[in-house]
Each structure stands twice: as structure tokens, then as C-alpha cells.
């Protein structure tokens, strides 16, 4: 299954809805999307991973890269994820301590630092 990406604004936040597989093959496209958003001045990102079927460490690397980019502009990168098998990968790599992970886009939108 391929990667699908769509973005929309929610107030001052930008929601990136990701679907399909984020892996070594598709991660460059997600990376490009995040780089473009930051270049466009979008520094408060919410990555909605509810429709992600597969995530590997390459995908994690891209998310970490995105986090570094928005932080350089005092921004934020929040994740929406309730899927256990995806959460497990964040836990294994210690990234649950790095990313704020929310259980819905609404929750992520209303979250403050």
C-alpha cells in the first residue's frame, strides 16, 4: 500500500493526514511534505497517523527531522495515534518521550505547550 498525504488548516495548526505505509520507500515524500510546510511558515504541525498501516524507523526518522525543523522556529509537532502497533514502535525507540501523542485531532488542536 502506498503513502497518502493530505493537509488542512485548523486555526493556527496544520493537520497532515497520513495514510498507508511510511517506510524507506515512501518516507522521502513525507519528509518533503514536512519540509515544504515549514518553508511555508507552518510551524505548528499535527500529524494524524490514524490511517497509517505501517511505520518503520525511517518514518520515525522523518518525524524526528520534522520536529527538529519546527522547533528551530519555536513550533510544535504533535502526533495523533491510537493504534497499538504503531504506538509500540514509538515506545520501543523512546520517542513517546519526544512527541506529544494525542488520541484525536481535536485533542491535539486544543493542546497547548
Amino acid at each position: 500500500m502506498d503513502l497518502s498525504l493530505s493537509t488542512r488548516s485548523e486555526g493556527d495548526r496544520t493537520v497532515v493526514e497520513v495514510g498507508g505505509e511510511i517506510d524507506v520507500y515512501t518516507a522521502p515524500r513525507l519528509r518533503e511534505q514536512l519540509v515544504d510546510l515549514v518553508a511555508d511558515g507552518k510551524y505548528h504541525l499535527i500529524v494524524d497517523m490514524e490511517r497509517v498501516d505501517f511505520l518503520d524507523s525511517t518514518g520515525l526518522g522523518v518525524l524526528v527531522g520534522g520536529l527538529k525543523r519546527v522547533r528551530a522556529h519555536d513550533g510544535s509537532l504533535r502526533l495523533v495515534c491510537t493504534q497499538e502497533r504503531i504506538l509500540k514502535i514509538f515506545r520501543i525507540t523512546g520517542l513517546t518521550k519526544v512527541f506529544p501523542i494525542h488520541s484525536s485531532v481535536e485533542e491535539a488542536v486544543s493542546a497547548t505547550e
Binding site: F54, D56, S57, T58, L60, G61, I92, T93
Partner: protein
């Protein structure tokens, strides 16, 4: 004795082929359905790592994946041929992440081989990482077969 061997040129697209093959053969071998996601992820990590190292050190050499089903366990061995001396430094995940953060090489940001290994060892109970015959590393992962 039922063995499948897959060799592929070091391209990200073929990592998907390897995942697909591993999951299909694992299912047929009798690996529990609930574990197939783990097989897919772990084999993908091992192959991404190998592809990354080959692209850097020996882009012409294929990556090899061997699937063995010996009726008690299903095993996958992923062999890279990256020269030993030039392999990435070991270090903590935080060190690696920090060095990735400083790097401007977009490829390095994408793939940190040791993070992939950390995922594998965090995920799979039975993993062995051993030096290859001449060079490189063989990552062998096994799962029990529930018949």
C-alpha cells in the same frame, strides 16, 4: 528445509518486496497471524538497514534474505556485505539522533542503521546479530511456529 532465498539490488522499493515475501512465507509456515506485523516490521528494518549500508558502501552488491522454515520455527536472515571497518559507530540512540540532527545529509536523517537494529531487538524476542562470513553483518530473527 523449505527455504526461500531472495536477493535484490540495494533499492528502497525492494525492501517492500522482502516484507511481502517474509509475511507470506511466515503465514504459510504457520507463524501466528498476530505476529505477522512484527515479522513484516522486523524484516523491513533489517532490509532497510542493509540497503542503506550497501548504497553507501557497495551499491552494486545485492542484499540477501534467507527464509527458513524448519517446522519448529520460521527464521529470516538478512545479510549485508558492507565492509566491516567502515560500519557506523555504535552509540546510544540519543547520540545517534543528535548526530542525525546535526547532519545535513537527508539520507542520514532518513535511515539510522542502529535505530533500525534497536527496533528489531526491541520487537523480536529471538534475534542474533553476527558478523558475516567475509564482511557485513547477518541479522537472524526467528519466530515460533504454532501448528
Amino acid at each position: 528445509m523449505a527455504t526461500v532465498e531472495l536477493r535484490f539490488s540495494a533499492l528502497p522499493a525492494h525492501v517492500r518486496t522482502a516484507r511481502l515475501v517474509a509475511a507470506a512465507v511466515a503465514r504459510r509456515s504457520g507463524v501466528d497471524e498476530a505476529v505477522l506485523d512484527e515479522v513484516r516490521l522486523a524484516v523491513g528494518e533489517a532490509c532497510s538497514r542493509a540497503v542503506h549500508l550497501h548504497r553507501r558502501h557497495c551499491p552494486e552488491v545485492p542484499v540477501m534474505v534467507t527464509l527458513i522454515d524448519d517446522e519448529k520455527a520460521f527464521s529470516v536472515a538478512v545479510t549485508d556485505e558492507a565492509p566491516q571497518g567502515q560500519r557506523e559507530e555504535q552509540g546510544t540512540l540519543a547520540d545517534l539522533a543528535a548526530s542525525a540532527a546535526e547532519s545535513t545529509d537527508p539520507d542520514q536523517e532518513l535511515v539510522i542503521p542502529e535505530v533500525g537494529l534497536a527496533v528489531i531487538t526491541g520487537l523480536v524476542e529471538d534475534v542474533e546479530v553476527a558478523p558475516g562470513r567475509d564482511r557485513g553483518v547477518v541479522v537472524t530473527m526467528s519466530w515460533p511456529i504454532s501448528v
